[in-house]
Symmetry: D2
Subunit: 179 residues, 4 copies
């Protein structure tokens, strides 16, 4: 049996009980079927003051932040679930990245991006902006990005029962596993 490399799914918002979390779990379930070990990092679990207590002079000194982000240091493959906030990614997702050691956190590692939105844009600009950032920190970004627009708040069935979304997700996962 081939030992599959674990995959970390990052829930890109600190909103509690978010649709992003449900989307992340859906991705995890698909990967579990393929026998991949999954790890979740939900930004909701970060220390509430981490923007002040884990950045700049405090980088690497916040024990709780370090515990939560230990999976970044150790991981190789990441799936980012990114909801659209104000036409881009959540600020807290970038703040989290601003708190991570550079360049070892993401350099030469691999990312797949998933954008979700209630509106019609499907986080298109969020994924473009975040690609710029991940390229800056030296990360490989899967070209096949999934955009899921027109979702209903907190309702995962608008994805799982959608005519095309499960197929898009499955295709992306296949690309990611051979990336």
């Amino acid at each position: 049996m081939v030992q599959n490399q674990p995959i970390t799914i990052i829930i890109g918002t600190n909103r509690s009980t978010s649709l992003s979390e449900k989307v992340g779990i859906y991705y995890g379930e698909q990967l579990a079927k393929k026998k991949y070990p999954i790890h979740y990092l939900n930004l909701n679990h970060l220390p509430h003051d981490f923007a002040f207590s884990a950045l700049y002079d405090q980088q690497n000194k916040n024990t709780l932040f370090n515990q939560q982000t230990d999976c970044i240091t150790k991981g190789i493959r990441f799936i980012f679930i990114i909801p659209e906030y104000n036409g881009s990614f959540p600020g807290v997702l970038k703040t989290f990245l601003d708190g991570l050691p550079f360049p070892q956190s993401f350099q030469n590692k691999k990312a797949a991006l998933v954008g979700i939105s209630k509106g019609s844009q499907g986080a298109t600009l969020a994924l473009s902006h975040f690609t710029d950032i991940l390229h800056y920190v030296g990360m490989h970004v899967l070209p096949q990005k999934v955009r899921l627009p027109n979702l209903k708040k907190n309702d995962i069935t608008t994805i799982t029962h959608h005519e095309t979304y499960p197929g898009l997700i499955d295709t992306q996962i296949e690309h990611f596993l051979s990336f």
Copy 2:
């Protein structure tokens, strides 16, 4: 005497004693010479847990956050000082924006953008990303953006003594005042 409209200068990072703050003060001094009333909003003064205590269900309920951001609701013209972090704007700047009521906070108001960096990029991508966001929230963005690359940490003289930077800043301010 014409009553000049006040201008709010937003220091786009929560880093303490940042070069961004010094750049903001430099802009304020230039505007003061032209008799414009100035207001400063330094993200360093936001409640340390505002990403959790002032967003989503807590939006508009954090008294300290509301006090600090009252100048947004009341202001019309804004200058954003944006340091380059990880190839884009600081996450905390977007988180701050994610906590503001939409669309009344910035819609139909006016922004000038200033990018600073130690590296050679001058926050070019940061300004592009942030323009996308400000356009999304309905704000007018001055096309003349100032990029100040190759700065030394905390040393404002690498700007004030620079051959071309003070002229660039002055030209931008002139454009902004007639914007």
Copy 3:
């Protein structure tokens, strides 16, 4: 009676009988109702070799190109109809811009952007990229951009009979006329 300023509508592709042209005409009809003089510039009317005969050392020397683009020099307000090609704007639209004298062609003038696509993106990235370019050449870009995704090839009724698109267009035009 107030004399309304003429508005130039730029059909951002050289494809013949394009949906972009029909969208441009639709915008022109709405503006005509409001008594605005309209001028059209269809990139399909440019000399077929203009990428070689009107750029670089040949800039400003191609009489046919100059005749077609005379409306740029003289105009103040522009509406760009931008179809999505390969995830961004048509190359020919940028080539056209590369042939225009800088900075006098667009500096301090005003633009509204309209993105159209058969796919679900609605030219979102095209409009973001083109905004970067227009800002670079010193042009004011209306924050209210119209994105029209999921259109049928050459069928203007997928816009005119759409539940929300005519209202979006009307709102944008109102913003543009007071811009």
Copy 4:
């Protein structure tokens, strides 16, 4: 002896005797030292009316265009030399891409990006925009992008004699060869 895969270097402008061409040749020389077969595609060699004679209904019907672009169909690895024109890539580079069959031209192939400029930006936005496009067509983009700002027109020595540029280029090539 291992047979190295050939690499196609695309000169991303149709300007004659461009600095981009010299930069492309410089890359080719470095790769030749490492025993990689090189192919050049200079957009200056495309038919002058290709924007009209090789796109849309004419796609794949222009024999001269097809001859020049045959290396795209057959190639796997590409280096794009991208000069900054009006704050982004040359329009002709995108027009060229708009003439290529989709998705087989670039899907699942690999690209390295090199941005050059006389100004201080180093084609930063050009590379970001072009990454969006290449990701849209399904291409893998090397995160390590080389930006070469502040060049003198047609003077390759401002690169080859530069303190840091040859090292940057060498590092990028090393990353690309193991990409």
